[in-house]
Symmetry: C2
Subunit: 688 residues, 2 copies
């Protein structure tokens, strides 16, 4: 997920954890919108046709973002920070589009992005019965196998042999309460059309990230192509530069990545200790390292800047989440909710498998015993290197593809292979000096976390230091060559076995241990938790009915709310900012420096033009790039962040302070016309 | 505290939290040794004379370590990692004693260490009645003032006008259950006699830190001087190179810095969230930054290496502590203990001030609300710079010294001034390039943690970036000049006010905000907690009697135990390692490279010579440099670490796996004689 956004309070009477949703709360699936609530609160009821058109006009970026189709010719609107990997991949030391921005003056100048996949959700099918039937009564390894098999069967049938254009995923909703089959149209030829300079896309930088008032033009325009031509799009959102007025009903359609509102207390404790604390500690060290690396030269800064952004962004988001899990008020609310559900459960016991909360707690305890191994070996935390990622895909892909589809890991199933291949054959540049730094550091972590005497560590390092091993492997690997990667992929197991590239050898050496720890995780932890969360979900449905929304799972959701400021320790934060505010905040020093294009255009700009605004919509990381639409399905804004109070939204929601942060549609159009000389694009977006 | 060591288990039936102490458990005050227990378990009972001689032979390093007097001529044995700041301060780019080691071939070659103070505890007086009487019935600001006044009165009378040679501290034991007045002899002329190369002092580096088997000669020899001559020492420990045999009773005398075994659950949660998690995150970022900075040049590596060691050492220690506070088994034990004590308390209520646990919890909640401000401003977390530390001492010292002794902060009381002056007038070198990196980074933290729009941040940064401010202030400050610092200190308030050094200006600008947040901490948090922990301590005494030991407070303690290995997941870890093991483990690559002196001496060394060993003594950080003595008060070893299982010793103790790690006395003598050509020193230590 590129950005984390959304949903919580600091001191509140009225946060909701589960059960009946509060006003504006909820990331709803398109087939189960709370029509009555919306109608009652805002006097508007989405029709089935409305929902279907919204669904077809919404875009998903497979890398972890949202977007929208905004013209009949496949134009797509998303965030700068969602498209920045593409911008970086197309840049060189001499021509840095991250710094300079990019504008294709004609369609001929639109450049293909390495590794970007767009999806459009075409159909939702309920397959709860099939999946739950296949898993009934199973546990451990048998459960894992059955889940793999039923998923493969459903997705294969759905894709009907055209995995290149059709992507099918089995989606777990309500932690196993429902399973849906999502059929997407897949676009892998995605081209860069426009991005502004990072200085305005991310004005205020890390200090202003997750804050409001805000002054960012965090936008990117991409275009979906098919058969070498701009894709023909039937349903799309036109842009309405007037935006939305304060108090106006607005919707956000997009792909929130992950929420944890329905986790058990025990799962939340595990998340606090390992998912957040451990991860924050790692991110903090990466941050110190990347910051200092970036000071070593301009080129070092350039090649590491996007990684540093990702690290700082996650760090800030997880910090906010951890603060919620350190807040006694949160735990009081969680305890009350779980106690109520458990009391209900005791009166209506599901006697088929003991107490599900206890089973989950036991599995979590098991996981604590090998979480480090799992993350270092299978999670590749010990091998931070793009070359290693390629080597892992080649080594694992060879053995996985030799198996029937029904027996493969999900990420090597037929449904997933087109995406794997797109990433593996990416032409994105790799920087060996930077790779040496990353791999040397992470091999040091491997030794630190598993111990210098661990036999797996000794096998990898021998008598050398982590940095010596990294230097040697990076110097010797040829995996920077796309054609070699293609040859090895196509050559399958025999080709990979015969290859003696040092990075392939490293990945091969790690593979048995990584697979062993993954199997342990799947059999002893993941399957136990899935099985038992499913039973808790059933209890929650039985107790509370179906007027609830599922935790986010990077699948399409709609949230509703309105444009609204909030009260911050007694003073009111207004819902809109303007161009004028950006010029006032600018100091000329990074990250508060406006780009030359803005300074040059200043005399002809209307300082009252609205630039950013906030709404009460319930969103979270993955919603980056989501359109904000009005009831007429016109784009009035572009989500790019949440305020700092929203970071606990992973766990609960509070309308008093939780705000989504968006770029105003008027600023998008105005900047294209009056700053970037991109009037044609503005016209296309306005539907003219 | 230089090193964190000690005391806990991972999976155990028999960990102790409080109440009656287990075998070998406890860091006992010298006036309250558990004579019956020791006699029963080991057949030896320390006499009063024995205890007094041990007390007088024990050394404290004011910077946070332990040591021992080992000759009539003031020779002091401690760890390399306790003396390394001195070694670094005496080094230059051309002559790096950290790398090369140091040996004074004669007393004339012994060099004075900047900033090292040694103490010897001469007398303990119980002042519980005086202190508790002065504080009775007070709270908030009045409590803080009264505590300052009674402390000043007691310490002034104790020092009797000779603060240069006599240091008196009021010591809080049992969290306010007892107050003792400790009178120390103070040595400020301390000279470096010998250190080995860091490669053998810290062989295995961070990977082996807190591990065993181990192969380190982590020793340093200092000498206390008085009136320009070696100090005449009456009571000291001779060294017995035979060491101790497996199972033999041994004592550790030293200054454990801090334990948290008697904290309330609420205090432990605060410690988990802020004391450990927040600190680990900061340390992790510092670690990444320092590691990468050290790669920029050999000189950058040299000047930052000791800081990096400190950061990594604390990081590993706190990680172990955090793991205990994430262990459900620990919380079950803690809950049981606190529930029992609370039940007792309900039956014997102290009605003078409500429920003390609730009062502490409320104060902790208050602290959570401004902990960040406190640590960034008053804790100087936003100003990581030696120049800033000097400026703070000058600015604050000027205003504090203008007040009567009874109204000053403890660190500016008459008792503390000699140490402040020693540090302020230190001739230790400062490296401006390194200062720029540290200050720039920490000013970035200031902005991050308080927010870019915080008025205090805006006042400090203006329209510049944190790095620009750091660069300007470091370039302009003259505080590297000792004579200027001396002039400003002696000139008092008028001199400081008139000075316009940019670092002095910065410290002056921060001062009112730092003092305000400190006052809030003292009045609303610290005094509430002290007052209420005192009440809990009284209940604990009343319930359990006096056969308990107090939490560690960097005051002299004795622990007893025996030389013993342990069972590690089914295999036995033997208690001794040898020279031979070190040569086997050496790879030639840092941190597993033995120094040239060892490689050259190898042919004449006895590979069976014992090098390190473990004991069951209950120790923790601050015990670094403690002697391990036998019942005859002979040194048989030198504490330098604890095993990884000992890290939870901050919270509880388990004899099954908790081990103290020591250098064998035989290796100390042998290395001096056969590797370093320091036979004269060996003779002096052997009492010949």
């Amino acid at each position: 997920m590129k950005k984390k956004m959304s949903c919580l309070l600091v001191s509140s009477c009225c946060a909701a954890l589960a059960g009946s949703a509060l006003a504006a709360e909820g990331m709803w699936t398109l087939d189960n919108l709370p029509g009555d609530k919306i109608a009652k609160e805002y006097g508007f009821r989405p029709t089935a046709e409305w929902s279907e058109k919204v669904m077809h006009s919404s875009a998903r970026l497979a890398g972890g973002c949202s977007g929208s189709y905004i013209s009949a010719d496949g134009l797509v609107l998303t965030n700068h920070h969602c498209g920045v990997h593409c911008v970086e991949d197309l840049s060189t030391a001499d021509k840095d589009y991250v710094k300079l921005g990019f504008l294709a003056k004609s369609r001929q100048e639109e450049i293909q992005c390495p590794g970007v996949e767009l999806n459009r959700l075409d159909q939702i099918t309920d397959v709860t019965k099939e999946v739950q039937g296949a898993l009934a009564g199973l546990s451990g390894e048998a459960y894992v196998r059955a889940e793999r098999a039923v998923t493969a069967k459903l997705t294969s049938a759905c894709a009907a042999g055209d995995a290149q254009r059709t992507r099918c995923d089995v989606v777990d909703l309500y932690h196993g309460g429902r399973y849906h089959l999502y059929r997407y149209h897949r676009f892998q030829d995605v081209r860069l059309v426009f991005v502004p300079e990072k200085d305005i896309a991310f004005f205020g930088g890390d200090p202003d990230n997750f804050n409001f008032p805000r002054y960012d033009l965090d936008m990117a325009l991409l275009r979906a192509y098919e058969d070498g031509k701009p894709a023909a799009i039937k349903d799309y959102f036109p842009v309405n530069p007037a935006g939305a007025r304060a108090g106006e009903l607005v919707f956000v359609t997009g792909h929130p990545g992950h929420t944890d509102r329905q986790l058990t207390r025990d799962q939340l404790e595990l998340l606090r200790d390992i998912g957040l604390t451990d991860r924050l500690i790692r991110l903090a060290e990466m941050r110190g390292m990347l910051t200092q690396y970036g000071r070593s030269s301009a080129e070092a800064a350039r090649v590491s800047t996007t990684d540093l952004f990702g690290v700082e962004n996650s760090f800030k988001a997880f910090t906010g989440e951890l603060q919620t899990l350190q807040d006694p008020a949160f735990w009081r609310a969680k305890n009350a909710e779980e106690t109520q559900l458990q009391a209900w459960y005791r009166k209506h016991p599901d006697n088929k498998g003991g107490n599900p909360w206890q089973a989950i707690a036991a599995a979590d305890q098991t996981y604590r015993g090998f979480a480090t191994e799992y993350r270092v070996l299978e999670g590749a935390g010990g091998f931070w290197s793009q070359y290693f990622a390629y080597a892992r895909t080649l080594v694992r892909g060879a053995s996985q593809r030799a198996k029937p589809n029904a027996e493969r890991f999900r990420e090597y199933s037929d449904a997933a292979l087109p995406r794997q291949e797109q990433l593996l054959f990416s032409t994105a540049p790799i920087y060996p000096d930077y790779e040496r730094v990353k791999l040397g550091w992470s091999l040091g972590k491997l030794r630190e976390l598993l111990g210098a005497d661990d036999p797996r560590v000794k096998a990898i390092l021998g008598r050398d230091s982590p940095q010596q091993v990294a230097d040697r492997v990076i110097a010797g690997t040829k995996l920077g060559d796309v054609e070699l990667r293609r040859k090895l992929w196509q050559g399958g197991q025999a080709a990979v076995d015969a290859n003696d590239d040092p990075m392939i050898r490293l990945a091969r050496m790690v593979e048995p241990d990584a697979l062993a720890v993954r199997k342990r995780f799947e059999d002893d932890v993941e399957s136990v938790i899935r099985k038992n969360t499913e039973r808790i979900a059933a209890a929650r449905f039985a107790m509370s009915g179906t007027g609830v929304y599922p935790d986010a799972t990077f699948t399409l959701r709609l949230s509703y709310g309105d444009v609204r400021g909030w009260d911050e320790h007694g003073h009111t934060v207004a819902p809109f900012t303007t161009y004028g505010g950006a010029f006032e905040r600018a100091t000329g020093v990074d990250p508060f420096a406006l780009p030359p294009s803005w300074l040059a255009a200043k005399p002809k700009l209307d300082m009252a033009q609205r630039l950013n605004f906030v709404t009460t919509n319930d969103i979270i990381g993955g919603n980056s790039g989501s359109p904000v639409i009005n009831r007429n399905r016109e784009i009035v804004g572009l989500i790019f962040d949440g305020n700092i109070q929203s970071l606990g939204g992973d766990f609960w929601y509070d309308i008093a302070t939780n705000r989504a942060v968006a770029v105003h549609a008027g600023a998008i159009i105005d900047a294209l016309q009056n700053i970037y000389g991109a009037g044609d694009l503005a016209k296309e977006m306005l539907g003219r």
